[in-house]
């Protein structure tokens, strides 16, 4: 009875909001959240359409788009082609970034600490317990490492950042691959959980001796120190848009069904080893075509006009050839252009 009242009420109020503006909802990955929110703000001024993007983690993005509760889902963990087909989804990349280990050690600044995949694996397994462990010292001659216990900080929610990070560990640390594996949520052998990228950054900021992993923008803006990670060429590049772009440029985009592409451990001296694209998920058959069109209009605008904003926020825009390919793929979406 009162559901009807609520709906009637809603219709009455809906009349109040301007009729020409479409509002649509996206949810998922927290890695691109600040980019989508900044784009949304500019796009609302440019078009009047309003995007409400909620950062609830990649796992949430996948689940909510499958449940039709949002107009698009966002995930840093690409779905495999068979998963896409089963759920009737289309997947395309929207931006590129990287995952960065961050730490909190008094007296040691950003970029001064060097780590490798094997070392990260052992630390996150809880096998290396203190910062002055000889294996950490071996990679960092000249650093004064304190005898603090290492507090591992991971994600409490399902997340694409976790998927990229654990996939990288599984590729570079055989022990990790055997004991834990790679997914958007894993059974952590050690440490504490923070909600979202910024929850992890906040915990790292608050805890002496903490080591966590966050998306690059959070490492840059969250006032935490980043570590350098050894790449496939044995170098220690700084995590920055150029080194993420280096990882993206070599990827076999055109040949991957469903755009299932990972950018981990790519070759090249300048390549950041834990790079990845962030993906958008939409239903092939739109329940509400006008919403689907609004989503595509938004990303069309973002591809055309959003690169400057993306660069300002330290995301890597897609290469032009990839954008053209994605625009082609949109034709498969019912109610699209």
């Amino acid at each position: 009875m009162f559901r009807k009242t609520v709906l009637a009420f809603g219709l009455g109020l809906a009349m109040v909001s301007p009729a020409w503006a479409e509002s649509f909802t996206g949810a998922g990955a927290s890695f691109p959240a600040s980019l989508y929110q900044a784009w949304a703000r500019e796009y609302a001024v440019a078009s009047g359409d309003q995007l409400n993007y909620q950062s609830i983690g990649s796992g949430g993005g996948v689940r909510q788009i499958i449940a039709h509760t949002v107009d698009f889902g966002a995930t840093d963990k690409p779905l495999k082609p068979e998963e896409l087909n089963k759920a009737g989804l289309v997947q395309f990349p929207a931006a590129i970034g990287g995952v960065v280990p961050v730490f909190n050690l008094p007296g040691i600044g950003p970029g001064q600490l060097r780590l490798s995949g094997g070392l990260l694996g052992d630390i996150f397994l809880g096998r290396i317990k203190r910062w002055n462990d000889p294996r950490i010292a071996a990679l960092n001659p000249g650093l004064k490492l304190p005898p603090f216990p290492i507090t591992v900080v991971h994600r409490a929610d399902g997340s694409g950042t976790t998927f990229l990070f654990t996939s990288y560990l599984a590729q570079t640390s055989p022990v990790w691959a055997r004991a834990v594996g790679a997914s958007d949520a894993v059974k952590w052998p050690a440490g504490i959980g923070g909600k979202g990228n910024d929850g992890v950054a906040a915990f790292v900021r608050q805890t002496y001796g903490a080591l966590g992993y966050v998306e690059y923008i959070y490492a840059r803006k969250g006032k935490v120190s980043y570590a350098r990670v050894q790449n496939a060429a044995g170098q220690y590049p700084a995590p920055e848009p150029a080194s993420f772009a280096a990882a993206a440029s070599a990827a076999p985009w055109g040949r991957a069904a469903g755009n299932y592409v990972l950018l981990l451990n790519q070759p090249g001296a300048e390549t950041w080893p834990i790079s990845g694209a962030t993906f958008i998920l939409m239903h092939r058959e739109q329940e509400r075509p006008e919403k689907g069109r609004a989503v595509l209009r938004f990303f069309d605008w973002a591809f055309a006009r959003g690169d400057a904003t993306a660069s300002r926020l330290s995301y890597v825009p897609l290469p032009a050839s990839l954008k053209a390919m994605v625009r082609q793929q949109w034709r498969a979406i019912g109610g699209g252009k």
């Binding site: 009162f2 009420f9 109020l13 909802t25 703000r41 909620q54 509760t69 950054a201 803006k221």
Partner: protein
């Protein structure tokens, strides 16, 4: 023969023990009062600087951009208002039934008990329930679902206070009404409700105080929305959900806004509480 001094000793000891005990009870009270002052102080210290007109005129910003909390404040107000309308209608009617019609019925005992169960049920479970009955079937997070979840949280509060207040009204009132030939329902509406008005308002205010700070029921229902929106079919921002998002973030400007929001919510809730209690006291004296 040291009987007297020992008596005296024991007497002194008893007095000392008693002083110690009084001291302990004072200390316990001091702990509660100090905790309250500390919490209020940290709210004021961290939130007061950020309060300005922009909080009420601008929507929540992406990180490191200027903004306020307008969308969250208005969203909270709208969902709480709708939730309260539902809760007041159902709560007052149900409370009236318990007080006026439920006398001696088994089923009234059951309803009363279940209302108490609902009153003490963790609010996050209400959120789960509304997700299952509204969000999932209707394919979308929405302000309407948020308002319904808040209504479920507030209704038992209103029901309970309504029943308690109506029971306070003397039977002479009821009999007097009946004596002039009015029907029972008319007596309840025209006489009993009118006489109990301050108490009913108190119940509603307590319900409002309870839901205006609720976060858990909104997490899976109204979700949140950085844009200003009034549509009940769309997700909607709310102060508690925005505070939750901002407080746990790594951005200083977001954290500052979270403190501002916490201060606003605390002021609202405390004001509703104080007004409600004052009304209740006033009605007892009258």
């Amino acid at each position: 023969m040291k009987f007297a001094p020992r008596m005296f000793d024991r007497h002194t000891r008893r007095k000392l023990v008693n002083y110690g005990f009084v001291g302990l009870t004072m200390a316990a009270t001091a702990v509660a009062v100090i905790a309250l002052l500390l919490i209020l102080w940290s709210l004021v210290a961290n939130g007061l600087d950020g309060i300005g007109l922009h909080i009420f005129t601008m929507d929540q910003p992406p990180p490191e951009m200027p903004g306020g909390l307008r969308n969250a404040i208005l969203g909270s107000l709208e969902m709480c208002a709708i939730g309260m309308v539902i809760a007041v209608v159902i709560g007052i009617l149900a409370g009236t039934w318990l007080a006026e019609y439920g006398e001696g019925k088994r089923i009234a005992e059951v309803v009363r008990f279940l209302n108490d169960v609902l009153l003490s049920a963790p609010s996050i479970l209400i959120g789960l329930f509304v997700y299952e009955i509204l969000v999932r079937p209707l394919h979308g997070f929405s302000a309407g679902a948020g308002a319904v979840a808040l209504a479920f949280v507030a209704t038992p509060v209103v029901t309970r206070t309504t029943e308690d207040i109506l029971r306070l009204q003397s039977n002479q009132l009821r009999e007097a009404g009946m004596a002039i030939g009015a029907g029972k329902s008319y007596v309840i509406r025209a006489i009993i409700w009118r006489a109990s008005r301050p108490g009913l308002v108190t119940g509603a205010l307590l319900g409002f105080a309870r839901i205006s700070g609720e976060t858990a029921p909104l997490l899976f229902t109204s979700l949140g929305n950085p844009n200003l929106s009034f549509a009940l079919t769309q997700p909607m921002g709310a102060l508690p959900t925005t505070i939750y998002q901002f407080a746990l973030s790594a951005f200083d400007d977001w954290r500052a806004l979270a403190w501002v929001g916490a201060l606003l919510i605390a002021i609202t809730v405390l004001a509703a509480n104080i007004i409600g209690r004052a009304l209740a006291r006033g009605s007892h004296h009258s």
